[in-house]
Symmetry: C2
Subunit: 280 residues, 2 copies
C-alpha cells in the first residue's frame, strides 16, 4: 500500500465528517430524519454543567451479569450521569458463570436521592435477595424517592419483595412472571412494561431494549438514537426462539423443568414478603 | 391469599413441566418444532463426560464490557465448556464506563490449544493492543491453532494486527470497518461474518447475535435455541437507528466526528502492523 492509499483510507472519516457520507447511508429513508439542530440541542443538554443524574445499579452474588451490563452500556453513555454499582461491601461478588463484578459504592454510601434505582435478576441470587432484609430495606428506601424504579429479568421480584410493585403493572423473566401477583403486581406479557415511574424488563437480553428506552427517558430520543448507532443495536437473531411461542412447547417445558426449584424458592420468598408487607 | 391459591401458583411450573403449558405458547406455529428426542440428544451431548471445550476471551484496559459479556452469556451457558478471561496479569482491569473486569487466567496460563479465541473491542484500548507485542504474540500464537478465531466490534482490528485476517472476509464496528483492508482483510457489511474458521461480529451489541451463533456451532441448533429462550432473546429495539442507514446521515456524521481520533490512531496502528507483517 502506498502513501496515497493510506491517505485515502485514514482520511475517510474526515471526509465523511466534513461532507456527509453518502456511501454509508445508501438506504436512508426520507422523513423522520434527525436534524443537525436536534443533535446540537441533545448534545448541549447532555453537556450542560450542573449536578449529574444519580443512577444506582444493585450488584449481588449469583446475579446474571448481562442483566446489568446491557443497561449499564446505555446508562453509562449518558454524559450527564454518574452510575454507581452498589452492594453491601466493596468486595467483588461472583455472578453467574463465575463472572466477577466489582462494586463502586456500598449501600450506605449510595446517594439517598436517586434518579434511577435499578435491580438486575439472576438465580439463585434473586431468591436470596428476596429474603435479605438489609438489601430489601435499601431497595425500599431508595425506591421510595427514586425518579425511576426499575429492573430487568427476575430483578422485579426483588422490587416486589421490597413492596415497590404493589398495584403496578410489571414484567419479569417469562418463567417467573406468574410470581408477580404474589407481590401485589399485575403481570404483563411484554418485553418492557412502564407504569408510572416503574419500568421493568423481561429476561436478560431485554436489558438492551430497556437500557435504550431508559436512556431516552433520561435524555431525549435523538441522544438515544446516537447511543443506538454507536452500540450498533441492529439485532439479527440467528434463530427464532426468543419467546415461548417461537421456541415451542418442548423447549419451554424442558427449561421450566430445569427452573422448577428456582420457581418454587422464588414463590416461597414472595409469599413471605406478601405476609410481611400485606401486599395482597 | 389462602393455602389453595398458594398451591396453585407455586405448582404452576410443575404442572407446565408435566403437562405442557398451552397457555404459555398460544401462538406456537406448526412445523419446524423442536422434538423431545432432539432436546434429549442435545442435553446428552452437552453433559457427555470428557475434556471440556477451552474458550479464551481476552480482557484489556479500556475495552468495552458489553462486547465481552454478550458472547460470555451464551458461551458460559455451554455445559461442556470452560471459559477463561485472560490478560497479562490477574489484576482487575478498568473497561469503558470505569467498569471493572477481573481476569481468571494470565496469558501464560491460558491453554495452548483452544477451541475458541475471542477478542472484544473498545477504544482506546483496541488501538493500544494493536501495538502491544506481548498481546499480539499471544493472539497470533493461540489463533494459529484455535478451532475458531473470533471477535466482536473493533476486536477484529487486533486479530488483524496479529496477522490473523490476511485474506479473510471480516467485519468490525461500522466506523472502523474501512480499516480492515489495511490489515489484508476483505471488509463485509454484515452483522456477523464467517469465513472458514474466522467469525467476526459488528459493533458491541452484535456480540449477542454472534454469541448465540457461536454457541450453536459448538453445540447444536436445539441447544442454541434453549439458550435463546433462557436469555429471552426476542429483541424489540425502541428506536430504528441501529445501522447507518436507519440512523441517517446527521447522526452518522456526528458520531464519525467524535470517533475521528480513534479512527486515525487505529489506521496508524494498522499500517504499522501491515509493514511489520507484510499484510498487503
Amino acid at each position: 500500500m502506498n502513501r496515497r492509499q493510506f491517505t485515502q483510507i485514514a482520511g475517510a472519516a474526515v471526509a465523511a465528517a466534513l461532507h456527509g457520507d453518502a456511501q454509508a447511508a445508501p438506504r436512508q429513508q426520507a422523513g423522520a430524519q434527525v436534524t443537525d439542530a436536534q443533535v446540537d440541542k441533545s448534545m448541549a443538554d447532555a453537556m450542560r454543567p450542573g449536578p449529574k443524574l444519580q443512577i444506582a445499579m444493585l450488584l449481588y452474588p449469583a446475579m446474571y451479569p448481562l442483566d446489568l451490563v446491557g443497561p449499564f452500556t446505555f446508562l453509562s453513555g449518558l454524559m450527564n450521569a454518574e452510575v454507581h454499582l452498589v452492594w453491601k461491601t466493596l468486595d467483588p461478588i461472583v455472578g453467574a458463570g463465575r463472572f466477577v463484578l466489582t462494586p463502586t459504592k456500598t449501600l450506605a454510601e449510595c446517594p439517598r436521592d436517586l434518579d434511577v434505582l435499578f435491580v438486575p435478576g439472576g438465580t439463585p441470587g434473586t431468591e436470596h435477595m428476596m429474603r435479605d432484609r438489609e438489601v430489601l430495606d435499601f431497595v425500599a428506601d431508595r425506591g421510595s424517592r427514586a425518579k425511576y424504579v426499575t429492573s430487568v429479568c427476575t430483578g422485579s421480584l426483588i422490587l416486589g419483595a421490597a413492596g415497590l410493585l404493589k398495584g403496578y403493572r410489571a414484567t419479569s423473566h417469562w418463567a417467573t412472571r406468574d410470581i408477580l401477583p404474589l407481590l401485589g403486581a399485575v403481570p404483563v406479557d411484554q418485553r418492557i412494561v412502564e407504569d408510572r415511574n416503574r419500568i421493568t424488563g423481561g429476561g436478560v437480553t431485554s436489558g438492551i431494549d430497556f437500557g435504550l428506552l431508559l436512556a431516552a427517558r433520561l435524555s431525549d430520543d435523538t441522544y438515544a438514537k446516537m447511543l443506538q448507532l454507536i452500540n450498533e443495536y441492529d439485532p439479527r437473531p440467528p434463530f427464532a426462539a426468543g419467546n415461548v411461542s417461537q421456541a415451542g412447547p418442548v423447549i419451554t417445558r424442558h427449561l421450566q423443568t430445569m427452573l422448577l426449584s428456582t420457581h418454587r424458592e422464588a414463590a416461597s420468598a414472595a409469599l413471605e414478603a406478601q405476609k410481611r408487607l400485606h401486599l395482597v
